[in-house]
């Protein structure tokens, strides 16, 4: 078709966004706007890219539905990469249907992958899986295959299925090699690293060691009583006592489990769980109340018995007590612990769960965000926080293929 557009599109495909811009920088027709948008996206100016793609979508005529749908998909992908999840999902669904209806199955699949990535980012792996299943299985271009496998791996990691995750990542790696896009290969590699770096610490009888994600997975079938600081719960196989909203009870359970089979003095429990500087009689009274509550909660799993100087944990139906802890227990670990469930949390919900003020949580979140340990999306009251290592999100853009050949 158009000469300069063809030349610019070829430059983009060859990874030369500046060459593409050179050719269409001064033109404002629809394909040029789209090309400029993609070039700007590849150069990292996502705001400008979004504006250009939006104008391109408007500038394409009513007969050019496919070209317009491709612009929408590109714009949504840019939004996803910049963690703006507020875009209307209906727009993407409509674009996807248009592409599918016109036989552009590769770009329709790309749109489906974007939707699945969004769902995974929102902590909805079941829906993400359903979306993936809906995507028509045509031979996908290698870059699309990488995206797909990364989402599959992300879902598997979320569900602690390391074997499935590893298999998906292997497939992603070979597709990335085929695609020949170095950024994509690096993305797969960094995701794979999640499986090979210690994901947790295991503390038992005063000793501790690092655990890989695989070993954490094995714990689910172990006989042991596990005090899980990731989920703020105590469990043995499928019996689960969630203590997420009872931080004091959880702290007591953890201190007792770490000392097991030994007992723990009242003073140690009070200083550890109540954060009290010096212990007085009112603390002792409160400890009695809290231990009573803990005893009720843990009834199906363990007993909390009084000893001469304090309390001890006695697990039922198992000779083993483990504490599963984060690899590094850092400042604000409690905030991270809640966020590591992968769900988006509002700061007020976190404050409630942590039993602290909203302002304290806000400060902690801001500090964690500065070191990239958490991230947020949305604004004002709708703002949500989550931990970032969610695999399946190439930060680089794939962008819809042949955007400009109409």
């Amino acid at each position: 078709m158009e000469s300069l557009i063809t030349a610019a599109a070829r430059a983009l495909q060859a990874g030369d966004p500046l060459g593409a811009l050179n050719r269409v920088a001064l033109r404002n027709d629809a394909p040029s706007l789209a090309l400029r948008g993609i070039a700007m996206a590849q150069l990292g100016d996502l705001t400008k890219a979004k504006t250009l793609l939006r104008s391109a979508a408007r500038a394409f005529g009513p007969r050019e539905a496919v070209a317009r749908a491709r612009c929408v998909v590109a714009e949504v992908e840019i939004a996803l990469v910049s963690r703006d999840l507020t875009w209307p999902t209906k727009t993407l669904a409509a674009a996807r249907a248009t592409l599918e209806g016109h036989g552009d199955l590769a770009n329709a699949a790309h749109a489906g992958h974007i939707e699945a990535r969004r769902l995974l980012l929102l902590g909805r792996p079941d829906e993400a899986e359903r979306t993936l299943a809906e995507i028509k299985s045509t031979p996908l271009p290698p870059a699309s295959q990488v995206a797909r496998e990364l989402v599959i791996a992300g879902i598997a990691i979320r569900r602690l299925r390391t074997k499935a995750a590893r298999a998906a990542l292997d497939r992603a790696a070979s597709a990335a090699r085929q695609a020949g896009i170095p950024a994509l290969a690096a993305e797969v590699e960094s995701t794979s690293r999640v499986l090979d770096t210690p994901a947790a610490r295991l503390i038992t009888r005063g000793h501790e060691r690092s655990l890989l994600l695989e070993e954490v997975e094995d714990l689910a079938t172990s006989e042991a009583l596990v005090v899980d600081t990731f989920h703020h719960a105590v469990r043995r196989r499928c019996i689960l006592v969630p203590l997420g909203r009872r931080p004091v009870l959880f702290a007591l359970a953890r201190i007792l489990a770490q000392a097991w089979p030994a007992d723990v003095s009242r003073e140690a429990l009070i200083t550890g769980a109540f954060q009290a500087r010096h212990v007085d009689e009112s603390h002792r009274a409160r400890l009695r109340v809290e231990i009573g509550r803990l005893r009720t909660k843990l009834k199906p799993l363990a007993d909390v018995s009084a000893t001469r100087q304090g309390f001890a944990l006695t697990p039922r139906k198992t000779p083993q007590v483990l504490v599963l802890a984060r690899p590094v227990e850092e400042k604000h670990a409690n905030v991270l612990a809640f966020l590591s469930d992968g769900e988006p949390w509002s700061s007020s919900a976190l404050a409630l769960a942590l039993g602290t003020s909203a302002r304290t949580v806000q400060r902690a979140l801001e500090e964690l965000a500065r070191s990239n340990k958490v991230q947020s999306f949305g604004h004002g009251r709708a703002r949500r926080w989550m931990t970032p290592p969610v695999p399946g999100f190439p930060t680089g853009l794939l962008l819809p293929g042949p955007l400009l050949k109409t």
Binding site: M1, S3, L4, T6, R10, R27, D29, P62, H102
Partner: protein, 212 residues
């Protein structure tokens, strides 16, 4: 205006390593097509690529009996068909918005895609001699037996139409099946048109309606 469905006689390709066909011409024995960074000649009898010239080839292609003309970016290259050497460059009238190219009556005819125009251009200087307005996005352009035909491609629809070179009025129209694109058009001087299939990367032979 006469309107009918295009009769596709034969399909060539898709060819290995060809992502899209941007322009088509015919030198009397071989069909030439532009595929981005190459011009390829295909023997219409066996459908195989006989020869390739490495040259920027982003849109229309034409042949004047000795030279190939090929649009690249915002210029028209004049190429020696025997040696493959680029002999000259003239500016393209659409400044890069050019698509189809034909040679007839000593002039080059250049389709300007989104402007829906066909320019008659002096092949020596690139000067625009006159401009014909069409109603649709223009892709390939060809002349045969004094008839001016051009391909259109707008959105998902393509057709091949004969227009009045003076008024631009459509005289005859051959509709291609939905989803079949025309990028590049050339007559073989007889009863066939060759059309580029856009990003399908193929070339089609379409029957030219008989004159009664």
């Amino acid at each position: 205006m006469k309107r009918s469905a295009a009769e596709i006689v034969r399909e060539y390709g898709p060819f290995a390593g060809v992502e899209a066909v941007h322009g088509v011409t015919y030198d009397g024995t071989h069909v030439w097509f532009a595929s981005g960074d190459r011009l390829n000649s295909v023997d219409p009898a066996d459908g195989k690529i006989a020869r390739s010239i490495d040259v920027a080839a982003h849109a229309g292609t034409a042949f004047d009996g000795r030279h190939l003309f090929q649009i690249a970016e915002d210029r028209i290259q004049k190429i020696d068909a025997a040696t493959g050497k680029v002999l000259a460059n003239i500016p393209a009238p659409g400044g890069g918005g050019d698509s189809g190219l034909a040679w007839a009556e000593g002039s080059l005819w250049v389709g300007q895609y989104r402007e829906r125009k066909i320019h008659q251009v002096d092949p020596q200087t690139g000067k625009v001699l006159r401009t014909i307005e069409s109603k649709r996005f223009v892709t390939g352009v060809t002349w045969v037996d004094g008839e001016l035909w051009h391909g259109t491609w707008e959105g998902e629809d393509s057709d091949i139409r004969r227009i009045d070179p003076d008024t631009g009025n459509v005289l005859e129209q051959l509709d291609l099946p939905a989803g079949t694109m025309v990028s590049g058009l050339e007559s073989d001087g007889g009863d066939r048109f060759f059309c580029g299939g856009g990003d399908r990367g193929n070339v089609r032979a379409v029957r030219r309606p008989k004159r009664s």
